[in-house]
Symmetry: C2
Subunit: 364 residues, 2 copies
């Protein structure tokens, strides 16, 4: 059953360079079926949200470069449900624009939830329960972040610390947020988990559109005014002109820094615990752990000799033979082969930098 | 200046499975330019020999499957200079056939030298000097093997041990061969080198054709008779019929076991020292050491990040990026990608076995 007044915003951006050469600037991570499910990460994200919002309740914000591909993957969305940004201005502009457009279209009661287009979630029922509780807290005026139950002391994610319960009748698990942390080192992460108070900050927010824009007006008034001006023109004849004038001058800032951190310090952020499985599929090590199999693609194309567990994505139609490298990661595409190890998964973006330095922009 | 009566025999066989997927059954090692010189191993072998034999002095023995490719790579050879075997019967049959054909064509004075088609030699002048001295000893009736000055205690090669000088006037460095050894372990190899008496056995022989066939008639009379019968018919109308009848029954044996070892025990083998650089390019580790560069092919297609020294053969036109694997070996071809390490270079043939077991004979 859909939640009345609830709208989902899906920022679809980022090149996913640590998943290169599967993920490319022109064909990024969110457009890929990385789980072998038959649905891309973007499609799976929208599949998960539509039951909560009802038809017409999902708004995707993406770059003009990807707008056609996004619309092509999501025939269930209307033309007005894909907002195309002329250039990337980071997550605050993307989500803030969506909030302002939703206010223009649907009025003051809108509660929005923001969900990245390129994360993987397992456990639909738990996810929906979490969102429903979070929306209750959002209606009460909070910026609500979803805190994921950590399965281990990850150093790849930031954490959110839970404070005392908010005591909301219909949202008993929601607490005040005591604060956010950057990605910790392993010792710190272990200490966090020992307290029982820390959860992974998955970057998913629930908030009344009006509350979000009011916070933004306080923190970054010029950005708030610019987004308001763009949103007012969005569904009229002047959109292109206003975008031309206003968009390039908007402040580039992540919503975490613009809103979540300062508002948390003032007691305005809440945490709703999410006990579903979540992964941001940040790199090939993460992807290999996520998949049940060691092959992404046709297992018949892969031969492993003394290389059990080597992760192979045979995407070029060629066979891939791995001999004596159980820790290997091999990604084959029609124009680029990547060979690395799980331990070096974070360094893959340096390969992208390397090809850029050689002006091989066709590969990026 | 050519050596009168000297003929070179080049057995061109073997699939080079440890160099798969560069080397294939249908396109084996000897047909490849593995050094990036612009000449294949076969072509470089013939280039090296023609100045010693003169025009028409090189005979290549290969399988029917490769006869056209061999002839295509060697336009300087006449049609009669490529002997096509209906099926592989190992090196004794190949070299024995050539010896018998040379006797039929050129008479009793023929001295032949046998040189594999898929080895790499550097130092033409030293090579030619060695062959000239070896031919002198061959004329004196010896089976002469070229003993290569070892550059280290290799466990990949067999060794030949030098005995006392033969005291030949025009071949002062030639000694009696005290015996052959199999590939030793590292400790044994080191002990060999410490004596100063051991050299690598490169499998290159110089011998009078008549002497070779006489030894063969003593050791393996049926094989000698069969080869004689085939050779007598070779240049006449009955070649195909005689091959059909005789060839399948010929004993499969290496010349080392058939001739070199028993004759050495009887004092009939000599060693001529070769102080040129020689390599059998047995696997990718060997190839990587041989090449001055870490790339076989277009360096512009290869990116190494924390992977200095990784050996890459980008043969598919695609880019290859190696991140965090300095010991890697990556071979890219249009239908097969191989990823291994230098330490596992000898295990590459197990990948060939693996694809054979999956009936992917198209890859072999």
């Amino acid at each position: 059953m859909a939640i009345p007044g609830f709208h989902a915003v899906v920022p679809a951006g980022g090149a996913g360079t640590r998943l290169w050469p599967l993920s490319r600037a022109g064909h990024p991570k969110f457009l890929l079926d990385l789980t072998g499910s038959g649905r891309t990460l973007l499609q799976a994200t929208v599949d998960r949200l539509l039951p909560l919002t009802g038809t017409g309740g999902v708004l995707v914000v993406t770059g003009t470069r990807h707008a056609d591909a996004v619309a092509g993957q999501l025939p269930e969305l209307g033309a007005a449900d894909v907002l195309a940004e002329p250039s990337p201005r980071d997550s605050m502009a993307a989500i803030g624009l969506a909030a302002a457009v939703l206010l223009e279209r649907h009025g003051e009661d809108v509660v929005l939830g923001s969900f990245a287009a390129d994360h993987v979630i397992d456990g639909t029922e738990a996810f929906q329960r979490t969102v429903r509780e979070g929306v209750v807290a959002a209606r009460a005026g909070y910026v609500v972040t979803i805190g994921i139950a950590a399965t281990g002391p990850s150093t790849a994610f930031g954490y959110v610390r839970s404070g005392p319960s908010l005591g909301l009748d219909d949202a008993p698990t929601v607490t005040r947020a005591a604060g956010f942390t950057e990605k910790p080192d392993a010792v710190t992460a272990t200490a966090y988990l020992a307290t029982g108070e820390y959860r992974w900050n998955a970057g998913m927010f629930l908030v009344r559109a009006r509350v979000l824009l009011d916070h933004l007006a306080t923190q970054l008034p010029a950005l708030a005014a610019g987004l308001q001006e763009v949103a007012a023109a969005w569904d009229g004849p002047d959109r292109a002109d206003v975008l031309d004038q206003v968009w390039p001058g908007l402040t580039k800032i992540a919503i975490d820094h613009a809103i979540a951190e300062p508002v948390a310090a003032a007691g305005g952020v809440a945490v709703v615990p999410g006990d579903f499985t979540w992964d941001d599929v940040g790199d090939f090590d993460s992807l290999a752990q996520l998949l049940a199999a060691d092959t992404l693609g046709d297992e018949g194309l892969v031969l492993r000799i003394e290389a059990d567990g080597a992760f192979v994505a045979p995407g070029g139609g060629r066979t891939v033979s791995v001999v004596g490298l159980p820790d290997a990661v091999v990604v084959d595409t029609p124009d680029a082969v990547l060979v690395t190890t799980r331990a070096h998964a974070q360094s893959v973006k340096s390969a992208v930098d390397g090809w850029r330095a050689r002006d091989r922009t066709d590969l990026l």
